[in-house]
């Protein structure tokens, strides 16, 4: 009579998540292929006055009413320090509440959050949506990141997953994920370029597809370039207009700016399809309207688009292919809907790009395919990705000695020997950086590794072998071995940006305290709601004539059903509650049928809510 999911034997699926600058999505791999679950979740987080934290569309609305308690585009802050984001702060209404060189703290209402905590709220929303749709707990995920994300940005994304209660089995580069979704069809072979221009990041990747292997040849990009930048250019024009028309500057009024931002985005989106669009604003009894033509828009975005072309050319060079050898160009990310972007890509690659895939969904779909590869459900595909940035260590005079070059297939490793410079020296400090420049100051500091407790000896006598390993997520780990003793040597890690392990642990604990109940609690609550319904309906039915027409045995089994359901009702096993609901359903079946037969329909309606 009722449909029951077998929670005991069903293996929880690994979901694929596209954690985007503007929007996020969750997808899952099914027999028929990857499928998007629920809908697009705007990457917006807001704190209600009650203190409740919300994410998604509801938070998006809060952006208009409570901009000071709401944050968007937080991806731009992931893995960065306060010093890094000064440019960003001029354009985005981030409310920075101090923090340190290595991490940022955002103020939302009365609370402060690090960027990974904000992202964790978006992830948790996706997790809950997926659980609601699939009816099983979700604990493992593949999350996508821009290919050009550095180590700290990747680590921050992984931290966000952990805080949200997700084991992040793999970080996959967004363009690579798109290629996976695109090339799922086994017949696809050859060289493919993926041009991924999203809300806040730009990536270009060139891959070779061969017999189910997706081999990334090279990648390049800009982690701070996207549709956001176009919005800001249009916003600036509109704000200047308004200042001269209205005689006062509204750029300090957050609510007005957010309303205007929404109008600007709407105009931008329309301009992909029509030759002119209007920016409309009604605020504080005043109205503003301005038409933007495609011509003006194109002029505005040309410099932004041009910034994507340099990385494309470098990527083609690094991949060691010629433009003619590239068989196909795949477009990903909402900004590739702009006709001028498509035109520029067509000119550069000398072929018409593929735009038939939904540019908003393809990354999440690809993440689900990668999840299928990890679970073993997809057997014939394999992704060989690369590290986007060279890894090096600081040597004398502030120079960088490169150990692992950019575009090396990951996992990748390198080994270096270290020794002491003075007699009796007890530790050696290794400064690891990421980037292509020759001077340390021009690269991104990753971490400082301290080789401690070196036995005192003559200078240059110690032999410590240090191994740098970049894993399949693009994240670095370092191990050291004392070659004289053959023993593991202890390494103390001080990440330059981001959270320490202890900080993440503390946030996980805190999120458990404050987050909604976990999956089994929610299941239990839902089971109890159903139990309430059937108990109430049964109670009512017992007053019905049909009840007294039942045989003694049937009445007894209904009584037993009620009592047994009541016994498990306050336990904590939702499966048991559901089993007893089923049992009572079964016991009341004849009664229900009789009641319907005697045209007392509906009295037992509540018993059927789960079937």
């Amino acid at each position: 009579m009722s449909f029951q999911i077998d929670f005991g034997t069903e293996k929880s699926p690994i979901v694929g998540i596209d954690l985007g600058t503007t929007n996020s999505l969750v997808a899952v791999m099914e027999l028929t292929g990857p499928r998007i679950l629920s809908g697009i979740v705007p990457s917006v987080v807001s704190v209600k006055e009650s203190g409740e934290v919300i994410a998604g569309a509801e938070a998006g609305d809060m952006l208009l009413t409570h901009p000071e308690r709401t944050v968007y585009s937080v991806k731009r802050l992931m893995g960065r320090g306060v010093e890094d984001v000064q440019e960003e702060l001029k354009l985005f209404p981030f409310h920075i509440a101090g923090g340190s060189e290595s991490t940022i703290k955002l103020k939302l209402g009365e609370k402060t959050f690090t960027p990974p905590e904000v992202s964790a709220h978006i992830l948790r929303k996706l997790k809950l949506d997926a659980e609601a749709e699939l009816g099983v707990p979700i604990t493992q995920a593949v999350i996508t990141v821009p290919a050009y994300f550095n180590d700290a940005q990747r680590q921050a994304t992984k931290d966000a997953g952990r805080i949200a209660g997700l084991e992040v089995l793999r970080l996959v580069n967004e363009p690579t994920a798109a290629a996976l979704a695109y090339g799922l069809d086994k017949r696809k072979e050859g060289i493919v370029a993926v041009y991924d221009f999203g809300g806040g990041t730009f990536d270009i990747s060139i891959l070779r597809l061969h017999d189910g292997i997706f081999e990334v040849l090279a990648t390049n990009g800009d982690t701070h370039l996207g549709g956001d930048d176009i919005d800001n250019l249009m916003l600036k024009i509109a704000l200047e207009d308004i200042a001269s028309e209205w005689g006062f500057d509204v750029s300090t009024k957050s609510a007005a700016v957010q309303l205007l931002r929404r109008a600007v985005i709407s105009a931008k989106e329309q301009l992909s399809f029509v030759p002119a669009a209007k920016i409309d604003l009604a605020y504080d009894g005043k109205t503003y309207q301005r038409e933007i033509t495609r011509e003006l828009f194109d002029k505005l975005v040309t410099p932004v688009i041009n910034r994507t072309l340099g990385p494309c050319r470098d990527c083609i060079d690094d991949a060691g292919v010629s433009v003619a050898e590239i068989n196909e160009v795949v477009m990903v990310g909402g900004s590739t809907r702009i006709p001028l972007v498509r035109g520029a890509v067509e000119v550069l690659f000398r072929k018409r790009p593929h735009t038939e895939l939904n540019p908003d969904e393809v990354v999440a779909l690809g993440a689900a395919v990668q999840a299928g590869i990890l679970s073993g459900d997809v057997e014939d595909k394999l992704l060989l990705d690369v590290t986007p940035l060279s890894l090096g260590i600081e040597t004398m005079g502030g120079l960088v000695s490169k150990l692992i070059h950019r575009n090396s297939t990951i996992p990748a490793s390198a080994t270096e020997q270290f020794t002491t410079a003075v007699d009796g020296q007890r530790n050696v400090l290794i400064h690891v950086v990421q980037g292509e420049r020759e001077l340390v100051k021009d690269c991104r500091s990753l971490a400082r590794f301290d080789l401690k407790d070196i036995a005192p000896m003559t200078a240059g006598f110690a032999r410590i072998e240090v191994r740098f390993l970049i894993d399949a997520n693009g994240i670095l780990s370092v191990t050291a071995r004392d070659q004289r003793s053959g023993r593991e040597h202890s390494v103390e890690i001080k990440p330059s940006y981001g959270l320490t392990d202890d900080q993440v642990e503390a946030m996980i604990l805190e999120s458990f305290d404050k987050a909604e109940e976990d999956f089994s609690e929610r299941q239990l609550r839902e089971a109890r709601v159903e139990a309430d319904a059937i108990l109430a309906a049964t109670d009512k039915a017992k007053q019905n004539d049909a009840y007294f027409e039942l045989g003694e045995d049937e009445r007894a089994s209904i009584e037993r059903g009620i009592n047994e359901l009541l016994v498990v009702y306050h336990g904590d096993d939702h499966l048991l509650v559901r089993a007893k609901i089923d049992q009572l359903n079964e016991a009341t079946q004849t009664l229900a049928e009789n009641m319907m037969n005697t045209a007392v329909r509906g009295a037992l309606k509540g018993t059927n809510i789960n079937g």
């Binding site: 793999r170 679970s375 394999l382 060989l384 996992p411 390198a414 399949a472």
Partner: protein, 165 residues
């Protein structure tokens, strides 16, 4: 030699590029960490380790120059960082020209571009000799060529740093 072992190959200066690539893909399919995401931590660790070495090995062996450098190093040959004596005079002149250009003397530009082209031609000719000497197994010769090549490569890089296209 570890990098050759990763491919089940006998150490040799010359390799069949297609065969190497085929072995790389075969082994990637078997060892990649993606194939072990539900295995024990120890197995995961091993898969990560083996794949990292496989990738490092492929990167090193597929390029004839890095392969030769690796091969010689493993055979106990030292690669020096000294300037090859026959190039000293040229290097001296080049450094002067670079210095003057850095100080803003643009008249040096044609001379530097010419030097760059000359060095690139030298490098290409060394690459040919490398293949040839490698095929003969003439290790001393290979070592001399590698030393010269490395030095010339640095010169090209230096010139290119001050001569943006």
């Amino acid at each position: 030699m570890r990098f050759y072992e990763a491919f089940d190959l006998e150490p040799a200066l010359s390799l069949d590029a297609d065969d190497l690539k085929k072995r790389f893909y075969e082994r990637s399919r078997l060892w990649h960490p993606d194939k072990f995401s539900r295995a024990s931590p120890a197995e995961q660790e091993k898969a990560l380790e083996m794949t990292a070495v496989l990738n490092d090995a492929f990167r090193t062996l597929r390029d004839p120059v890095s392969r030769a450098e690796y091969f010689l190093k493993e055979k106990g040959f030292e690669l020096s960082k000294e300037a090859p004596p026959e190039l000293l005079e040229e290097v001296f002149e080049l450094n002067m020209a670079l210095e003057e250009l850095r100080e803003g003397d643009d008249s040096m530009r044609p001379q530097l571009m010419e030097a760059r082209d000359r060095f690139i031609a030298m490098r290409d000719s060394i690459d040919e000799s490398l293949t040839e000497a490698g095929a003969r197994g003439a290790l001393e010769e290979v070592r001399a060529l590698l030393n010269r090549r490395r030095y010339i490569r640095n010169l090209i890089r230096e010139v290119e740093n001050v001569l943006p296209n």
